[in-house]
Structures are given as C-alpha cells and as structure tokens.
Symmetry: C3
Subunit: 116 residues, 3 copies
Amino acid sequence: MQLKVVLHVDRENQGRLLAALNNIQNLFAQAGPENANVCVVANGTAVNLFQRERPEPYSEDIERLSGLGVHFLLCRNSLSNMDIPESSLLGTCKVVPAGILELVRLQMEGYAYVKP
Amino acid sequence: MQLKVVLHVDRENQGRLLAALNNIQNLFAQAGPENANVCVVANGTAVNLFQRERPEPYSEDIERLSGLGVHFLLCRNSLSNMDIPESSLLGTCKVVPAGILELVRLQMEGYAYVKP
Amino acid sequence: MQLKVVLHVDRENQGRLLAALNNIQNLFAQAGPENANVCVVANGTAVNLFQRERPEPYSEDIERLSGLGVHFLLCRNSLSNMDIPESSLLGTCKVVPAGILELVRLQMEGYAYVKP
C-alpha cells in the first residue's frame, strides 16, 4: 500500500524544519521514495524559511527531496501577511491558497498527519 | 464533500490560539463556513485562555466563530486541575469529560487533525 | 468501537511527555483501558527521556501504562544519532526502525494522531 503523509510546519524555526526533512529522509530510507507520497505544508511564520535569497544548508535538501517527489506547499495567506513575494521563494515550492485547506484536504484523501 | 477538522490547543500560549483562530478564518474564507465542520479542542493549560473574566482581543473572535458554527470544547480534567469553575468560561464554550477522548472520537468520525 | 490513538513526542521535554502520559490516563479513566489501543511514538531528542539509567518520576508511569497495554515505540534512527544503546532503555520500550514510518502506518490503520 502506498504510504501517504503530510508534514506540517508553522513556525520560523529551523530545528522544526530540519526535523521534518529528517523524517522524510528516514521514511524514504526505510520504505523507498517510490512507495511514499509526501507533502510538506508550511503556513504561519514558517514560510519565511523557504526564501531563495536566504539560502541555508537545508535549501539543497529541499531541492533534492523535491526531485524525489516531495511537494512543498506554502500558504498564500501567510506569504501575504509577511510581505513575501512568490518570486523570492525556492523554485520547487508551490503556493496554495490556504495551508489549512491543504492540511484538511490531504487528510481527507487518506494522508497521515505529522507535526514535527 | 463537507470538510471536517479539529484543531488542538494545549498550552496557555496566545500565539498558538491566535494561529488556530486564524486558520479557521482562512478556511472559512476559502471554502465557506457552510462547507466546513470545525471543532477546537482545548486541554492542558490552554483552558486558561477561555475565561470570561479575562477578556482578550481574541475573545470576540471566539464568540463570532461560535456563531458561525465552530465548537469550542474544553477538557473538564484540565479545568479541574487548574481550579477553573465552568461558570467562569466564555459562554459559547462547551465542557467535555476528556479532551483526549474528543480528539480521538472526532478523528474516528473522519475529522482531520491540525495542531497549530 | 475500539478507540485507537498514537501520541507523538519528539523533544527532550518532560512537560510534553507528562502531557502525553496524562492524556492516556484520562482516556483510560473515561473509556476503560480495554476499549483503547494506545501507542506512543518517540523520535528526535525525545528518545532521551526513556533511559533506564536516568529514572524519573514518570518512569513508573511508563511501566504501569505498559502493563495496561500501551506500546512505547522508540525510533532507532534517533537512538543512533544520540549514541543511546538499546540496552539502556526502559525495559517495556520497543525499538522500531523509523518512528515516522510507525506514525504513518498506524494512522493508515485507523489510529487517531495526537501531538501533545
């Protein structure tokens, strides 16, 4: 059975994001990337962590995991509240109208929820 | 399909409660209040945030969202532990025997879980 | 209907673990231990809280709840990262290959998720 999981980050806290990325790598190591559908939903101040202009050690991990099929979904409401233009985001991130709606929708589609 | 979500707050932290209320407003703005069943379960020290005698800017939001159908469910165990009489709570809150039981029951009824 | 819930702890924070243990006791008091399947998944720095060499007031609660059927599942990746030998863990804990995989698997089997 295909594993499905959405990880939720909502604070500008690198430790929490690193925990989420680490979770994904452990899941892939254990089950194989081809057997897991993984989304990361970022809302609140966490969207600050995904700016291209502020490359961090984890930025490469985000790009690499995106290449393995992980979807990084950023909340447009949160981006607006913090005046972050979409053009400043890491190229592999996708903006969604409301992070909360994705969190609900994905769970209703059978995704497990994990809050690192 | 009707959206169903339970938001969980368990600390006396206004920022976390405000994030939860903000999530609900974004969900309603995107999907319409009539298309979403929303519960907030508060346990632990978070129950301190719902006292009528300590009105806060967010108290009006709680009343307003209650009017739109959001259920605010407070854990009786937590209220007892903190010596908070039920009569001191905001009028639209409902007391439940155990917050954890609501969190489990609602998810088993198909509610998504979000921890802001 | 049998209640099923997995509680997730991922930080070396006694308060969060105590909240999880308290949740379980409240659930059992309300529903009866025989009507609830309960797992605790610990990963990240939270695995530090389960060492036999560092007995804490809550260690007895863990043993007692284990006796009532609660499963305490610790992430092997996290134990390795922190150089904690499995032999140093409380005897009722079980080590799993990846905490994240248990969190996903249990939810896909119908377990509710709660993050205290």
